[in-house]
Symmetry: C2
Subunit: 334 residues, 2 copies
């Protein structure tokens, strides 16, 4: 299977190469980022997005900081997106790696590069394991609903929720994916439909509010989505629209799965009530894609994420296995 690499080292090794996801699905454009500020901007503007991919990009970005500015660069990068726990986690790891170095600037740089590469490679491995555990939940002929993009484009590997689909397909099972378009930024129609189609998985796009009609018609066998942060009790923050999907799935008796690496489990968060939700700019809603679709001064409510309580989640798939309620992710979180 031809897997996309949304974040990797530049060919000359002196930068971070990203697939600019703002250009999809129209164009497949790669950019070489040469400074911390370039990567900050890429994360803040969603050129690179998806909790694991953001963490990887930020880790790699620290190798671009001047030797005496690693700590300030980490603080800057951490502020690019507040909700995804992977970002903070990856930066903490990089800072710990830097603290261990007692030698020259060259040794520091080498240690940082090695640690960022490990984060990328571990993420690939985690995706593969999530895919294997998740694929066991996807029967032959399954019609799978997903939201946003929890695929290869969101990670260093083959994704989280979509990894389960990729592995099921690679094992010879037929899978049809229904991809919510995912307003306001349309990661489902722009990204999920693009990467699944590119991989040969039959995919149908729908507006977010049409998912319940499909469920009622008996056209959905299971839902699987990613996660941006999972509290100790299993409450899960994910892209806005995940929570109403989980409510509708429960209403129709359809299994609702969350797939995420253990790096998404946050030991410091007891429940979803403690999760800070990022609110984004009004123009994402008012003039998405350059067209004015609301009064220019309209007040807008635009949370980037919502929290799905553990009670609405059938199981959580991680690189460690398939977890079911009652959840206690304290020991697994890192």
């Amino acid at each position: 299977m031809d897997v996309i690499e949304p974040v990797r080292w530049s060919d000359d090794g002196a930068g971070v190469r990203i697939l600019d996801q703002r250009e999809l699905p129209a164009r497949e454009v790669y950019r070489d980022l040469r400074t911390v500020e370039d990567v900050f901007a890429a994360i803040a503007t969603l050129a690179v997005r998806g909790a694991p991919a953001i963490g990887i990009a930020a880790a790699m970005a620290l190798t671009l900081a001047p030797d005496d500015q690693v700590a300030s660069a980490a603080a800057r990068l951490a502020s690019a997106r507040p909700t995804a726990v992977n970002l903070r986690w990856a930066l903490d790891r990089m800072e710990r790696a830097a603290e261990k170095v007692r030698g020259s600037p060259a040794e520091l740089r080498s240690a940082l590069r090695a640690e960022a590469t490990r984060i990328l490679e571990e993420d690939r491995e985690m995706c593969r394991r999530i895919g294997e555990h998740g694929a066991a939940l996807i029967p032959d002929g399954a019609r799978v609903l997903t939201h946003c993009n929890a695929g290869a484009l969101a990670t260093g590997g083959m994704g989280t929720a979509l990894a389960a689909v990729y592995v099921a397909a690679s094992e010879g099972r037929k899978v049809h994916v229904y991809a919510d378009e995912t307003r306001p930024l349309l990661q489902g129609s722009r990204l999920t439909a693009w990467e699944l189609t590119r991989a040969g998985i039959p995919t149908t796009v729908l507006v977010d509010s049409a998912a319940a009609s499909l469920m009622k018609a008996g056209e959905i066998d299971l839902c699987i989505v990613g996660a941006d942060r999972i509290a100790r009790n299993g409450d899960t923050a994910n892209k806005i629209g995940t929570y109403p999907l989980a409510i509708a799935a429960a209403h129709h008796g359809i299994p609702f799965y969350v797939a995420a690496p253990t790096s998404t489990f946050d030991a410091g968060t007891a429940s979803g009530e403690e999760i800070l939700i990022e609110h984004r700019g009004a123009d994402e809603v008012r003039c998405g894609f350059g067209t004015l679709t609301a009064p220019i001064d309209a007040d807008v409510y635009n949370p980037a994420f919502d929290v799905t309580p553990a009670t609405l989640i059938t199981a959580i798939v991680s690189d460690r296995g398939v977890h079911r309620a009652p959840y206690d992710f304290g020991p697994l979180a890192r």
Copy 2:
């Protein structure tokens, strides 16, 4: 209250003046339509939209036909939106009025004009009554969620669902409206937010899938939406996205109201299962903002409506009153 008139007689009485809704929210452009063909084009291209408003515009258009071409003009207008039931109903009424005239061409013209004016005025009166019955459900300080546009822009009067808001506000109660943008055609952000803001009602726009977060946060006191068809048992077809909203409202214990004139009650339909759902073109989803937002050949599921079962509806507000379960709209339907 400054209520919009999306359809009325031109100032000189020799045409139909419409607010061109294709230009909203960017520009408030009125057009004087002088021929049957002008009105046909306005209906077909959604310059005028909303089932009641379409019926009124078509009725008025018949007064613009040459004396010997009233029947052919009616046939032409009926074909502009073949699924809109009010359109056929209004034209039938006009033709019956014409058949009663035994005098001169001037008398025919006068009879047609009187009947079209009656259709407009009756619609205004129905809206006012729906508003009065509905306003009783809206307490002071209420935060009201609505979907699509069931406002003045859809009718000859002040709307259906939004009429309740307008009347509550005119009675001095504070109301804050949360308007779902309503993908794919964005009638909520383009039209509802525009007409409410213009009328001085505080309004916040959100993507459809953010409504559940607001409910969970305790920010919504009630939901009120319009209807395209109501079956005898109360099952209601309305804009896609109404059904998941009703599921989420029930999940959070929030009242969910439907507002519609009794002309929307369909005695010929026993339950929602008999309602045929129109599916619309893929490009509404794939390139709805003039920008390609999905792979160009992506498969798309795009139902225009969904059906909310009566069990999820707290009450149905009509021009005759507030109806609660068990519903039997057979006697009320026309």
